[in-house]
Each structure stands twice: as C-alpha cells, then as structure tokens.
C-alpha cells in the first residue's frame, strides 16, 4: 500500500511518515502543495493525506484538481479548521475523510485502514471467530470453547466490531463513534468500563486472552496472547 503525505509542518510530516512506515505502509512525504500535486498526478497512490493550509496551493484546490483529473486515490484531509462547514466543503469537493488537528495517531491509522478497505470486496460473513470464540451473526449468539456467552446488545456490537477488525488497534474515540455513534471527543472511560465488562464475559475464564489494551492507543483483539 502506497501513501502520500502532503504536510508543510516538518515535525508533523516526519512523525506521520515514521508512524505510517512502522505500520507497514510505503510513504512519500512532500512539504508543499506543488510537489505534492505533481507526485499525486504522476504516481499511483492508494491514499493521500493532505493538509489543507499549505503555503502554495490550498488543499481544497488540490482535491478539486485531482478529482477533475480523474484520480481515484482515497483522500484524507487533515486540518486545524474543525467546523462542520469545512468538513462538508472537503467532502463535497471529493475528499473521502476529514480529520481535525490535533488528532490521535491511533485514530488516523484506524481511519486509513478503513478507507483502504473500502476498495476491497466485502465478504459477507455469517460467522466471525477468533481463537475458540465464535460469533454467529444471524442467530446473534456467541460461544467460547463451546460455552454459550450471554451478551447485551451493545456488548454484542462491540465484540462484532473487534472481530471484524482483528489485530488492529482500535482507539477509544473510534469505538465510541462506530459502536455508540458518539461522534465527538467523549469521556472515554465509559469505553474502558464497557470493555472491562466485555472482558469479564469473554476473557476472564478463558485462555488465551483475546482483548488487549494497547497503552496510549486503544484496544486490540488478537488471538495470539502476547503476554
């Protein structure tokens, strides 16, 4: 997967590149709009991370030109401007997602993954599983090591979300937004409590542990117990 980062703030750009490279992506970084535009036009990127306030051409203009030129790359806008109008404008011009600075890297990563997945064929699964845990979607049942586990509606949705994005770090804000539709910076300890309760049901009496806390980032469902 090849990514282009257009960011004029040197420190932000450098950290973004490092973080993304370490997450397994091939990353090009340019520090101004013209270079970025040139690269975006000449090479094929799966995703472009674009700062809106650039010294030469604005991110708005670039999105527009790239879409007019028929470029199909996913575009994620990054901006310090967080008003709804700005977001709507960005999405209308043809961007695929919009994130407001300051952002958490974990959330950016999760959103990048989600954008890149859009292009892949969706497999319609009836069953999700991890280690000996099995979730039956049509029947809405969960079993672990053959034992039936009773979950509340929200716990079921939360577990389903973890199972769909196995091995990915899911930041609390993203979980709040995806499972509870809380699309703002909410007090995330609610998520911690919810996950603790879920763990009590699916992890406490079983090995290996499935849900792991990734400190400073979020949670991850992983069948391989790292401990």
């Amino acid at each position: 997967m090849k990514l282009l980062v257009v960011e004029d703030e040197p420190k932000t750009g450098e950290y973004l590149r490092q973080g993304l490279v370490e997450s397994g992506y091939v990353v090009d970084l340019t520090k101004n709009g013209l270079d970025g535009y040139h690269k975006a036009m000449t090479e094929d990127y799966d995703l472009i991370i674009l700062d809106i306030m650039l010294p030469d051409i604005s991110g708005w203009k670039m999105v527009q030109s790239l879409r007019e030129a028929g470029k199909k790359s996913q575009i994620l806008l990054l901006s310090a401007m967080g008003s709804i109008d700005d977001k709507v404008k960005g999405l209308n011009l043809g961007a695929d997602d919009y994130m407001v600075k300051p952002f958490s890297f974990a959330e950016l990563l999760a959103r990048i993954r989600s954008l890149l997945r859009r292009n892949m064929p969706q497999q319609n699964q009836n069953q999700l599983s991890a280690a000996d845990l099995v979730m039956d979607l049509p029947k809405r049942t969960v079993t672990r090591a053959g034992k039936r586990i009773d979950l509340t509606n929200k716990e079921f949705l939360l577990l389903e979300y973890f199972l769909r994005y196995q091995n990915e770090v899911l930041p609390r804000s993203l979980i709040a937004s995806q499972v509870w539709d809380m699309n703002f910076d909410s007090d995330t300890n609610v998520i911690d409590v919810a996950i603790r309760r879920l763990r009590n049901k699916i992890d406490v009496d079983f090995e290996p542990k499935l849900i792991h806390t990734v400190r400073g980032m979020g949670y991850k469902l992983d069948a391989i117990d790292e401990e």
């Binding site: 008003s83 407001v100 300051p102 958490s104 809380m182 007090d187 609610v190």
Partner: protein, 481 residues
C-alpha cells in the same frame, strides 16, 4: 474635550437662535393682527362718530325748521356745542339753494363736491378718505329731505391723524415687546441649555473616567439633578453587568492558565526526572505513556476551548435536522449503561416523544455532558430522572434531575461558567471537569434555547428549554442574555 465644548456652545447658540426666531415670528404675526384689528376698531369708531354727528344735525335741522325756526342763533350754538365734544370734527351744511347754513372753521369741505366719488358717497351712505393739505380726513355725506323745500346736504369730516397716531403708538409698543421678548427667550434658552448641560457634562466626565481597571466605580447619584437619576441608575446597572462579565472572563483566563500549567508542570518534571538517570526501556516507555495521557488531556481541553470560543463568536452553524429527543436520551443512556451499572445507579426517562429541529452532534454532546455530569454527583443506589414535555406549541423542556447534595443558591447561576467549581478546593477530577456544563450552555444558546439550574435537598435539576423550530424567535429570550 475642547472641541466638544466648542461644539456644545455652537449647539446652544443655534438652538437659542432658533427658539428666539420662532418666538419673534409668532409675536410678529400676533402683533400684525392686533394692529389690524385696532385699526379696524378706530375706523369703526370714526364712522360711528360721523354717523352720530350727522344724525344729531338732522334732528337739529328738523327742530329748527318746524319747532323753533326763529332762533337761528340758538341753533348755531347747539351745533357748536355738539361739535365741541368731538376732536377735529368738521361739518358743512347747505340748503337746497346752496346757501351755507353752517360751516366749522377748518378745511373747506365744499371742495369735496368736486371729487367724482362725492355723489357716490352721498348715494350709498358710505364714508371715504379725503386727503387735503397734508391732512387726511374721513368724510361722510348725507342728503336730508325734511320736505320738498327743506333739503340739506351735510358734509362731515373727521381728522384721521389721531387714529393713525394711536396705531403707530401701538406698533412701536409691540415692536419693543417683540425685541424684548426675543432677547429674553434667547437668554433664557441659553441659560436653560447651560443648566441642563452642566450635569450632563459632569456625568460625561465621570463616565469617561470609567476604565476596565475601575469597573467597580459607580456614578454617585448626587452629581445629577433628580430627572437624570434614571440614566445614572441604568448606567450603574450596566456597569455592574459588565463588571460581572469581566470578572468571569478574568477568572476564566486565570483558570485556564492554571489548568494548562498543571499538566505542563507534570510533563516537565516527569521528563526531567526521567532524564536525570539512565533508565530501562520499560521505564522510559512508562514516562512516555504518562506524558501521552497529559498531552491528550491538554489536547481535549484546547479542543473544548476552541469550541467555546467558536460558540462565543457565533461561528457555530447548527446543521438542522429533526431529532427525536427521547430516542437521543435512550441512546445516551445506552452508552452510559456499563458505567451506571458499575456505580449502581439507574436512569429513569419519562414524558412524551418530542421531535425538535436541532443539530444532532451538538445536542448529543450537550445531553451527553448533562448525563455525565449527573452521574458524577449521584450517590450509589439512586436514580437519575429525565423528564420531557411540551411547554407550548413553540417550546419544549427537558429536566435532568440527579439526587445529591444541595447546591447553595448563589452557586446556581455560575454553574455554567467555565471552570466554575462549587467547591473551590476540589482538585481536577477527570478530564474536562469544569467545562462540560459551559459547553452545554453554549450549545443550548446556539440552538436558541435556555438553560438554568435548581437545587434542593432532594435533587439538583438542570432545566433546558428549546424551541421546536429553530427559526423561532423569542424577544424575552434575547433580552435575558
């Protein structure tokens, strides 16, 4: 200030001149009518005098011809007696044959016969003006027929000097009156303006001395006359309100500095200690995690501050959609379910289904903060109650009530201030503490609603009123803020 007083002088002179001019014009018109009516009166007087004289002459002639024709002397005597009581009145009488029967000394009235109007006057019985040797007379002519033989022509004239003398006297008097009155009105207006202006100038000086550093000063009521006390009261009230806002703003700035300084101090100290000795990788990692938490807290606080600043500057544009408030509460209760089960508290949602026009994200955030706040203060084992209802066809109301310690009335209005804490000594408790309710207030006001708090021994209640349609305007609401 200098220019200002020049301007004031110019203004007073202009106003005084204006009032003086108007007074003069009114008086002038008045005196014109007075003079005219006086003149008419004197003319009528003259005519009446002439009539009276002619009538008397007529009866005297009758007496002479029929009663006592022998005594011609007595007759002349009578005539002279009659005329003596009239000033500058002249009479000429002749008989049919043209013999002069009586003629007073003075202008030769016979000349008037040569004027073409003479016979006209005689026919109509009207009076006319006769100019003769620099004098002006009003004359009347009468033809008297006692019998066919005894026919007389009487010409009577009265000098008009007296009359025009009176009129010009009156004219002079009125002119002097006009001049004096105008002068008085000018001076009076100037004085009145000065007397009114003086306290206003004093007031202005006092008001100019009010600066942001001396907002606690009030204008003393004693420096102005009674009629301006209302203005001074209003101004003092305004000062009090501004002072309050200023004070809050100042506290806010101090608070935000404090809120930011605490985590920064933590970060600096922690990093310095970490670097002061060689550590294991795990220890470094521990420091970074701990730092990350502080960064996140700071970042969230800045985001919240930005949100509030946008709300303050009216930069938030709500994206209006129909929202079912009951469903929204249910969703948020759902979200908090794990936490309230942990704390052994419960929710109770009562009331009707309410659909209002609002911004989904903003309302979610406001309700989320309200519930989060309620959970924080509800003791274990108790219930948070939310009730929804229509107030009227335009407004809805929801109340979030949580049991807990009573909040003293003086704290209630400030509950929605940024970083305001009922208990001053209370330490930061969790992220964003002290700003959640301020955000709720901003959101509710952006959506043209109202928010207030009540508290008693049983519970603390946050009462939110929102318009059903967002274009609904309530003048009352606007005045309140």
């Amino acid at each position: 200030m200098k220019n200002n007083s020049h301007y004031n002088l110019f203004f007073s002179i202009r106003l005084a001149t204006l009032i003086c001019t108007i007074t003069s014009i009114i008086l002038f018109i008045l005196s014109y009518f007075i003079e005219r009516s006086f003149e008419n009166y004197t003319i009528k007087q003259n005519i009446a005098e002439l009539d009276a004289v002619i009538n008397t002459m007529q009866s005297e002639l009758y007496a002479r011809d029929y009663l006592d024709s022998s005594n011609n002397n007595r007759f002349e005597q009578n005539f002279s007696l009659i005329l003596a009581s009239h000033y500058r009145l002249f009479v000429y009488i002749e008989d049919k044959a043209g013999h002069v029967i009586f003629n007073t000394k003075g202008p030769d009235l016979l000349i008037t016969k040569q004027h073409p109007e003479f016979y006209q006057l005689m026919a109509t019985g009207k009076t006319g003006i006769w100019e003769h040797k620099n004098h002006s007379y009003r004359i009347a002519v009468a033809k008297i027929s006692l019998t066919d033989d005894n026919q007389y022509t009487i010409i009577a004239a009265i000098g008009r000097e007296q009359q025009s003398h009176y009129v010009s006297h009156l004219h002079e008097g009125l002119t002097i009156l006009i001049i004096i009155t105008s002068m008085i009105s000018f001076v009076w207006t100037m004085a009145a303006i000065y007397l009114t202006q003086k306290p206003i100038e004093r007031l202005t000086t006092r008001i100019q001395s009010v600066t942001s550093k001396h907002l606690n000063e009030r204008i003393p009521l004693s420096i102005v006359p009674a009629k301006f006390i209302g203005i001074v009261h209003a101004f003092n009230d305004m000062l009090a309100r501004i002072e309050d806002v200023f004070q809050r703003q100042r506290n806010f700035t101090a608070d935000i500095a404090h809120e930011i300084r605490t985590p920064i101090t933590n970060l600096v100290t922690q990093t310095q200690i970490a670097l002061s000795n060689a550590r294991t990788t795990d220890e470094y990692r521990e420091v970074l995690y701990s730092n990350l938490e502080e960064y996140e807290r700071l970042s969230k606080m800045i985001t919240d501050m930005l949100f509030l600043a946008q709300a303050d500057n009216k930069q938030l544009t709500p994206e209006l959609v129909d929202i079912n408030l009951k469903a929204m509460f249910t969703m948020i209760f759902d979200y908090f379910e794990p936490v309230i089960e942990d704390n052994n508290i419960s929710f109770d949602l009562e009331g009707e289904d309410l659909i209002i026009e609002g911004d989904r994200l903003m309302l979610t955030r406001a309700i989320y903060n309200l519930i989060s706040n309620a959970i924080r203060y509800t003791p274990s084992g108790q219930t948070i109650t939310v009730s929804l209802k229509h107030l009227n066809k335009n407004l809805i109301q929801f109340i979030v009530a949580n049991p807990g310690k009573k909040i003293a009335p003086e704290h209630l209005p400030k509950l929605f201030d940024r970083f305001y804490r009922v208990d001053k000594s209370r330490q930061r408790n969790g992220e964003g503490a002290g700003i959640g309710l301020a955000i709720v207030k901003s959101i509710i006001e952006t959506l043209k609603g109202k928010i207030c708090a009540e508290s008693d021994e049983l519970s603390t209640r946050i009462i939110v009123t929102l318009p059903i349609k967002n274009d609904y305007q309530n003048e009352d609401d606007k005045l309140r803020y």
